[in-house]
Amino acid sequence: MDNAYSYLESVGKEPSNLIKGLQLIQSTEGYVSDDAIRAVAKYFSLPEVEIEGVLSFYAQFKRVKPGKYKIALCDGTACHIKGSPLVHEWVRQELNLSPGETSADGLFSLETVACLGCCSLAPVMSINGRAYAKLTRKGLVKIIKEYQAK
């Protein structure tokens, strides 16, 4: 198999581990490339088109390289009620990003997630897994500026 993906060996070869294998690729590479799909298909002895089918079914998997900082906007019920649509608008205004996009400088990528599970602190977002609670426009701009300055 392609040496670049030899770390797949840590996952059992049975097809039921396919999602686990893809999660491993994604956590290592940040996304799942065409080459990775070919490697996974070979490893699990499954058709490439089936790998694509599984990948594209689950929201977790990314097919393009994400930004350095992955912003996840929570659009769970509590966040929505507490104004997450406004947070979306603010992020759009600050970074000119829509969900699913990565900024031209490769710094930020944006996605919306169903729920981060911090409903009582709504509205919430996370950047590279770190949660930011009770967002206001001012607070959001400050957070983004901090990441830009890093």
């Binding site: 065409d34 058709p47 490439e48 088109v49 089936e50 694509e52 594209s56 079914f57």
Partner: protein, 676 residues
């Protein structure tokens, strides 16, 4: 061990593993399904096969649900049918395709335009004529005078001019009309009387004869043709050279004619009812409207003017200075006839602007070429005779708010009156029908049929302008066939088949871009539209010679290469379309975004058109489970689900072109590229 359960009130037996669908089929109960294919494992996707468990009221997909002992299943009731109808309507609401080509749908007669154009493209104009005559029994005339609903809806309008469709009819008829004879069915002894020998009556007679009926056409005039002979001028439709030739065929197939017979005059309805199995009223619209202003009686009615010109053999006297009031096709016929009768000063007065004129654009342009002057935003107020001249008082108008027709309403400008002098003032405002006494008429003065039928009373039917109001020849022909079919059903006592053809459409070309079109055919010609060659302008102005020449075979065949071939490759076999028709579905019932246009013609033989995919995944399973190739897969989810190939690179080299996926596909989402 087999079990017993109740299906549509009947006790039936199910073997182990049998689904409700299996048992229903074994017992002759028809349940529609799109996604069940015995060759592969179940997909349980379309839910068109739902049945109802009577006790719980729950709906079950019969393709997957096995019956329980003594379960009571409703497979045919109205609630079940409504669920199936909803499932089908939902699928239709996302379906992106054209069940039929828009030209065919637009044609009032629903002539199979794409097919007769294809035959012509292939050089087989006899086949073309045969296809045309299934719906248009007057192809020589209509090939000349049709306002071309088909071309106005041709998708080539998206980029350039439409295919010159009408020329296929004209050429095919000119080439083969005289020699082609249909296989005539034997007469059954049934007889139908048709009152009126215009296009509607003729069409009814033709299709009745094709159904084994002996038709007799009664006409008040000395010759047949109606509006074709006495309305449409010679230069558009030559009477002896074309119309007489076309009508000769009617005598040949056994249509009987009796002339000089007028219903209520020298023809009695009672007699007709006594001697015939049915009577068709097709008396047309021959009463012209006046200008409704003082001195109206001094004007000439447009339709009368045209009839007199015809009756005189187009030898009528020079009308002098002519003003024609009106903006429709009759007005254009009047001005252009006036020019040909020798008038050197012909004007058309219309109360709105050129943009609102109902006349064909081409007619307006040709009239202008022939020297006709146009005055817009003017309405007649008064007509007087001063000496041997007529004086028309006109009032200027301006456009106001849109009216019921959507056109902006003309509003008078006070104090703007002025006078114009003329020798002849022709009112070409519109025509009405005169329904003979004893025939049911509605408050608008037209024959009164039940909605959706041609039937007026027992054994009495109507067709054409006298039923629909003044319309076109092709609409009259469609009406004639409609009446003929209804009479056929009635006199032979046939079951009424509910005709509910499904026409899913990508939409009107006005809303489409080239990228919205699907090009199944390679090499759709990018050439300019073929244009009709005309006689000289001088001849046009001084003689009644036909203004255009029939195109030659090469030109028309080449024109056929411009046809995109919009209709679905699977239109005759599509299960979605078939079941939707059976269940009385309507593609417009549920509104919403349709699937994006996305098709793949990289395979030389197979087209994949995602817009038509219902995501049942039977193709995926067929390729995987039956063929063992795994070339297809289901990708994404929800409304964005689609069937794709690996990396969307098309069918890979190891596709054996076996077509099993095509066989399995319930719609045209996967099909052979070459249309049958």
């Amino acid at each position: 061990m087999s079990i017993e359960f109740i299906l549509d009130g009947k006790k039936v037996t199910a073997e182990p593993g049998q689904t409700i669908l299996d048992v229903a089929r074994a017992n002759g109960i028809s349940i529609p399904t799109l996604c069940r294919d015995e060759k592969v494992s179940r997909t349980t996707s379309c839910f068109v096969c739902v049945v109802r468990d009577v006790k719980s009221g729950k709906f079950l997909p019969s393709c997957s649900a096995c019956p329980a002992p003594n379960q009571e299943i409703d497979a045919s009731g109205e609630t079940v049918r409504e669920m199936r109808r909803t499932a089908l309507n939902l699928l239709l609401s996302e379906h992106t395709g054209d069940c039929e080509a828009p030209c065919t749908v637009a044609c009032p007669a629903h002539a199979s335009v794409e097919e007769y154009v294809k035959a012509g493209r292939d050089g087989d104009f006899l086949k073309s004529l045969q296809i045309i005559k299934k719906r248009i029994p007057l192809p020589m005339s209509i090939g000349r005078v049709c306002p071309r609903f088909c071309e106005k809806n041709c998708r080539r309008n998206v980029y350039g001019k439409p295919v010159a469709i009408n020329e296929f009819k004209r050429l095919a008829a000119d080439l083969y009309y005289d020699t082609y004879m249909e296989d005539l069915p034997a007469l059954t002894g049934k007889k139908v009387a048709i009152v009126g020998g215009g296009p509607a009556g003729l069409s009814a007679s033709y299709y009745l004869r094709m159904a084994g009926v002996e038709p007799t056409v009664f006409d008040a005039m000395p010759k047949a043709g109606g509006m074709l002979r006495y309305g449409i001028p010679e230069y558009r439709l030559p009477k002896e050279r074309i119309l007489d030739r076309e009508l000769k065929h009617y005598t040949q197939i056994g249509v009987k004619f009796e002339f000089g017979k007028k219903l209520g005059d020298n023809l009695s309805l009672d007699e007709l009812q006594k001697n015939f199995d049915a009577v068709v009223i097709a008396v047309g619209c021959w009463k012209g409207s006046g200008m409704h202003c003082p001195g109206d009686e001094l004007s000439t009615i447009g339709i009368d003017f045209l009839r007199q010109a015809s009756e005189s053999g187009y030898q009528a006297k020079n009308p002098g200075k002519v003003i024609v009031v009106g903006g429709g096709n009759t007005a254009m016929d009047c001005v252009r006839t006036s020019v040909r009768l020798g008038s050197s000063d012909v004007s058309c007065f219309y109360r709105r602007t050129e943009a609102e004129m109902p006349a064909e654009k081409l007619e307006i342009a040709e009239a202008r070429e022939e020297g006709v002057k146009f005055t817009f935003l003017v309405a007649p107020v008064k007509l007087e005779k001063r000496g041997d001249k007529l004086v028309l008082t006109c009032r200027k108008m301006e456009l106001g708010e849109p009216d019921a027709s959507g056109r902006r309403k003309p509003v008078e400008i006070p104090g703007s009156d002025y006078e114009v002098e003329a020798d002849t003032v022709i009112a070409a405002i519109g025509q009405k029908s005169v329904i003979p006494a004893g025939i049911p008429a509605n408050r608008f003065g037209y024959a009164d049929a039940q909605p959706g039928t041609a039937k007026l009373a027992d054994k009495i039917y109507a067709a054409g302008d006298c039923l629909s109001g003044a319309a076109t020849v092709v609409e009259a022909v469609a009406g004639g066939r409609f009446a003929a079919e209804e009479i056929e059903r009635d006199i032979y006592g046939m079951d009424v088949e509910i005709d509910n053809p499904i026409y899913v459409s990508r939409g009107k070309w006005q809303h489409l871009k080239k990228s919205d079109l699907v090009f199944v055919r390679d090499n759709v010609s990018e050439a300019e539209r073929a244009e009709l060659k005309m006689i000289s302008l001088d001849e046009r102005k001084t003689t009644f010679k036909e203004t255009t020449f029939t195109m030659d075979k090469e030109t028309v065949s080449a024109e056929g290469e411009r046809c995109i071939g919009c209709s679905c490759t699977d239109k005759t076999e599509c299960k979605l379309r078939k079941h939707a028709a059976e269940y009385g579905c309507d593609p417009e019932k549920i509104k919403g975004a349709r699937l994006p246009v996305s098709y793949d013609t990289r395979h030389p033989l197979i087209i994949q058109d995602r817009g038509k995919c219902i995501k049942c995944g039977v193709c995926v399973k067929t390729c995987a489970e039956v063929i063992n190739r795994n070339l297809l897969g289901i990708k994404k989810r929800g409304f964005n689900t689609f069937i794709g190939t690996a990396f969307d690179q098309g069918f890979a080299g190891n596709c054996s072109d076996c077509g099993a996926c095509i066989e399995a596909c319930p719609t045209g989402a996967l099909d052979w590229r070459n249309k049958k």
